[in-house]
Symmetry: C2
Subunit: 261 residues, 2 copies
């Protein structure tokens, strides 16, 4: 990519959606572990994750969600439904979302045959299916490829494997200006802090101010976060907020605080 193109792309806000597919999450059999892992990697890459949906193993639902998300966002990441069994519908769903057929990837088939050797059964080859036109993405560190159809990354649901695939994102998605975040910790509750928060929100419109009550922390009642792409803006907002409060309402924190600057 040319420097000019890179620059243009870096200027555009890049958004993502996640689609977590699996009856087992909605029935409570399994607690999802993948959303927070993906969220943190995207955050580091400067990509804003703006929506996540958890849906069952129902083909039409997968098709609708993938189609809508692929249109609305720079990238879509699916989690789950990529094995060889009857409830693994993601590949077919992604293909249908783009009105493509499903075909067997010769490259994936060769890899599967090599991996299973004599233990290979017909069932294993179901994992060689891809939407027609999909790319296989891999790196030296992640030699087993992920299927990427246009802007949709098809990732496996098993948490260990999902986490491993994050290396692919980190290696293949060009990082933009990261999100910066500064935290302030207060002994006051949200009701007390409200007028101070309202003021800093009004006076620092470029900064996303978050307020998180802590119910079980004996020292901190509320954690406040000040987020923006521009670190100086985060720090200015955090400092203005902290200085507007009585000194005893601020708790020295483990993270970087405005009082440390």
């Amino acid at each position: 990519m040319s420097d000019k193109k890179k620059k243009a792309r870096a200027g555009r806000p890049r958004t993502a959606a996640a689609i977590i597919i699996g009856n087992e999450i909605l029935s409570g059999k399994i607690a999802d572990q993948n959303l927070v892992v993906l969220a943190r990697v995207l955050r580091k890459l400067g990509v804003q994750l703006v929506r996540t949906v958890v849906i069952p193993d129902v083909l039409e639902t997968i098709v609708e969600e993938v189609r809508a998300a692929a249109k609305a966002h720079t990238w879509v990441f699916t989690s789950g439904g990529v094995g060889p069994t009857h409830d693994d519908l993601t590949i077919v769903g992604v293909a249908k979302a783009f009105k493509k057929k499903v075909e067997t990837s010769a490259e994936l088939e060769a890899k599967i045959r090599a991996a299973y050797g004599d233990r290979l059964r017909e069932g294993h080859l179901f994992m060689a299916r891809v939407p027609k036109g999909a790319k296989l993405v891999q790196t030296e560190e992640v030699p087993w490829p992920a299927v990427v159809m246009k802007n949709v990354w098809v990732l496996p649901g098993v948490p260990e494997v999902f986490a491993h695939k994050m290396v692919l994102l980190e290696q293949l998605i060009e990082p933009a200006e990261a999100f910066e975040s500064v935290a302030v910790f207060s002994t006051l509750d949200e009701g007390n802090l409200k007028p101070y928060l309202d003021r800093v929100v009004a006076e620092h419109p470029s900064v996303d101010v978050g307020s998180y009550p802590r119910w079980t922390d004996p020292h901190v009642r509320t954690k406040l976060t000040f987020d923006a792409r521009d670190k100086a803006a985060c720090e200015a907002a955090a400092r203005a907020f902290a200085e507007s409060l009585p000194a005893e309402a601020i708790v020295a924190s483990p993270g970087p605080t405005p009082t440390a600057t």
Copy 2:
């Protein structure tokens, strides 16, 4: 409710959607803990959770999601965005979804005044706001009420408080026939199991068959689950599946297995 009405209601499939609201989940600052807690309680009550969406603190997004989910499902449960600060938009969002105004609940205001006493600030009273026409639901065990607008339960995002509110659901939502589940554990991987699974899926259409690979378990390669409202149907499907496999492919399990019947 009359017995006749109860019976009619019990026959209808009852579905739910969850809406998890908060920038902190999508940015990866905090891992959601509430979905699995809600999913398990609903499952026990015989309510099918069919969709969950995680959205940012954006009013229009909240309005759209609540409106669509309230129309499509028996119940909707929101998590988060109910404090008194600028990023707490759920009450306003739910009100707008039903084209209602936001008003101060005298009952909630009295409770807040009693709880805070001398420490009360104007900010705390923001937590007395409700959509016009909302009900406050509470029980002896959960004396702090939850706001319920039509079929939308507005629940707090703080995990300890969210979990506590589950008692309200268990006490106030009439349980229907619960979901039953039988598990079978196999030494074979999904590729090997595929033909056996395809057969049991075809021959037991009333049973929802799930297949979950285990990547780090030295004894079990795949967990299979057989779910239905009818326990005998689950057991029959699980037994048929287990008996179709070579005996050494089945692992005695900690849970109830078909071999135990």
